[in-house]
Amino acid sequence: MDFNDTPQEAAFRAEVRDWLSSHANAYRQPLPADITEADFIARARSWQKVKAEAGYAAIRWPRSEGGLDGTPIEEVIFAEEEARYHVPVGPFVTIGTHLAVPTFRVHATTEQVARFTRPTLYGDLLWCQLFSEPAAGSDLAGLRTRAVRDGDDWVINGQKVWTSWAHVADWGILIARTDPGVAKHKGLSYFVVDMKTPGIEVRRIRQISGESEFNEVFLTDVRIPDANRIGAVGEGWKIAMTTLMNERFSVGGESQDEPQAADLAALLQRAGPAGLPYRLRAAQLLAQEQGLKYFRCRQITALSRGDTPGAIAAMGKLVQSNVMQEMSRIALDVTGTAALACAGDDPAISKFQHGYFWSAALRIAGGTDEILRNQIAERVLGLPGDIRVDKDLPFSQLK
């Protein structure tokens, strides 16, 4: 593989730089403390719109659908260049563009794709992912939210949890049980739901960081027209897997707000002798971070050749969240009590405070460390699967 831009990629990078230099400055973000969430989201929507108008919101998609007929490598080039500007790029945008719409493009009808693609791309529709439940996390197929057919509608009852950005989302992707009489993976169906539908109640969850990005979502007699079902009845698990595959691939992506190992290296340098005991470990973490970066280059090269990401892609999030957690802990430790004040005005420390909290969530969200290790062991190394005593039992007979 080649880590240099090809002449074509270099030309694309130059074009992107040029475009960003005339468009991105107006969207540079102020410090989080100086901005409300609503303001932040409004800015993110309009930045998304500007990108979509130029085709940069979906580089890989066909021009006819708002893309640029580009390559995955061009998408990475854009993200790298975009990261030089502190513009609002939030998960509430990417749930739609990276998880929902790519799933629709595989499994939905032409009408459904047409209906949701453009508004999502232009930032008019923000999405949330109504998958996890209080008793269905790692064992996601154990979910209990029911969908019962009633004429042209489905009536939904149940509770979702850990639903990021449900309080700002316009629409949600939802999996629910449509047949409790068959095995748990077989009785699920996949829907899209307008979050303003009567019967949906979103309650914010206050997190350990004090922020509230996650929510509980209560669904009481929520009516979803059958036209909003994606794929066949009973095919929900398969479709959800497409979403989760995309999620694991994109959760592993780079973010400008997360602490980097080079930040830690600089911090240790500044700390002088106090930093010495941490140096080897910091170097190992730095090497892991670098390895992950080039691992992604290899994956993207494979993607650009038409391969689909293999199960080893699970390693992206596994490594990223663990590296972030340990780096953050070391950074806060070496800085001592000075790092503990939450209103720190040192941007490097703020990043590590954020990393200290967020990495703990990231090790759970989108597949826990343990689930990801199982995947790698079973699908990459070919080891036997865990015992799943409930696998073939009808859901209604499970305890």
């Binding site: 880590f3 190992a261 140096r279 080897l280 390693m315 490594v319 990459v380």
Partner: protein
């Protein structure tokens, strides 16, 4: 192509049975294997064609290093065929040129010493064209015809070529924890020497050779880590406990997943290192250090847990685990340990900001 051919040849030739026979024979170097490898062109892979080599670049050396690492081949490939060739072809001398021809045919083995330190070994001093001093564990010293050493004062270091058959050269065998990789200590008393490079040029060649060695050794390490992982996977699928293959238990599966992850990260750094050797001189310090640090970690973990996952049998001479366990340690220390390369990595990362 090269990889497939190498893998096919080595899978037939380079076996644990052969290593055991070789150890029993008491010979330091498997000359027959080294000759076969030379006939395939590997010892002269990087030697310029004018001196009878194949004139290939670092990429091909990386492929060969990984394949040799995969079978734990006890050969002086990195020192002789890679580092020595790199130094000798960048600092032409009549002696060096003649030596390149002999390396290509497999007739000469070169021991390379002193690559780990940033500064020349203080105990090795060049005065009036003669060199005095001593060095600790040097790989392939007794089997080598020449040594390349880094000597002199910190402000004017020199890269020297020493004829080990000459006067004033004393070699002593060391018993190493990996019996397949012979090491020796070297004492030089007014030994004749050819100066390959001095001052800034010596420093530059030394830094290049060190980075080249780091990347190639990292490839050797991921090759070995891959096979250690495969060996462990095969065993835990076969061995049953409590009515299931032990590989079905999460405690075991997760160790193996971590093994695969560490190797995959190191492999990614290795590829970047290979690229930097050819195309990215500005990023070579960072790339080589990252490859080195992560490959040490990957093979250390793979070798250690491969033995552990075999249970008691893994601790015996009959199982093959010990070959990885001791090789991991030797490769982790050669060229400078993880802490040293970690410092270089942190330095390169902060310098780039």
């Amino acid at each position: 192509m090269l990889r497939d051919n190498a893998r096919r040849f080595l899978s037939e030739t380079a076996t644990f049975e052969r290593w055991r026979r070789h150890l029993d024979s008491g010979a330091g170097l498997d000359r027959a294997l080294w000759r076969e490898v030379a006939e395939l062109g590997w010892s002269g892979a990087a030697v310029p064609e004018t001196f009878g080599g194949l004139g290939l670049g670092p990429m091909e050396l990386c492929v060969l290093a990984e394949e040799l690492g995969r079978v734990l081949a006890p050969l002086p490939f990195i020192g002789t065929a890679s580092i020595a060739v790199d130094i000798l072809s960048r600092s032409p001398t009549p002696e060096g040129n003649a030596l390149l021809e002999r390396i290509a045919t497999g007739d000469a083995v070169i021991a390379v010493a002193g690559l780990d330190a940033d500064q020349p070994a203080s105990k090795l001093v060049l005065r009036d064209g003669r060199v005095d001093g001593s060095l600790g564990a040097v790989a392939w010293l007794e089997q080598a015809d020449y040594a390349i050493v880094y000597a002199g004062e910190p402000d004017t270091p020199s890269l020297l070529l020493v004829d080990l058959a000459g006067a004033g050269v004393e070699r002593r065998t060391l018993r190493l924890i990996d019996p397949l990789l012979p090491h020796g200590s070297l004492t030089l008393t007014q030994a004749a020497t050819t100066v390959l490079a001095r001052g800034a040029q010596a420093r530059e060649l030394h830094a290049r050779a060190r980075n080249l060695g780091a990347v190639l050794t990292a490839f050797e390490q991921i090759g070995a880590a891959d096979t250690a992982c495969a060996l462990a996977v095969a065993y835990v699928k076969e061995r049953h406990a409590f009515g299931r293959p032990v590989g079905a238990y999460q405690a075991v599966k997760h160790k193996l997943a971590d093994m695969a992850v560490k190797t995959e990260l190191a492999r990614s750094n290795c590829y970047f290192g290979a690229w930097a050797l050819v195309d990215g001189p500005d990023e070579l310090d960072l790339a080589a250090a990252a490859a080195r640090v992560s490959a040490i970690d990957a093979l250390d973990y793979a070798a250690q847990e491969c033995l552990h996952l075999h249970g008691g049998i893994g601790y015996t001479w009959e199982a093959n685990c010990h070959f990885y366990y001791t090789r991991a340690r030797v490769l982790a220390s050669s060229l400078g340990n993880a802490a040293l390369w970690g410092e270089r990595l942190l330095h390169a990362a902060t310098a780039q900001r």
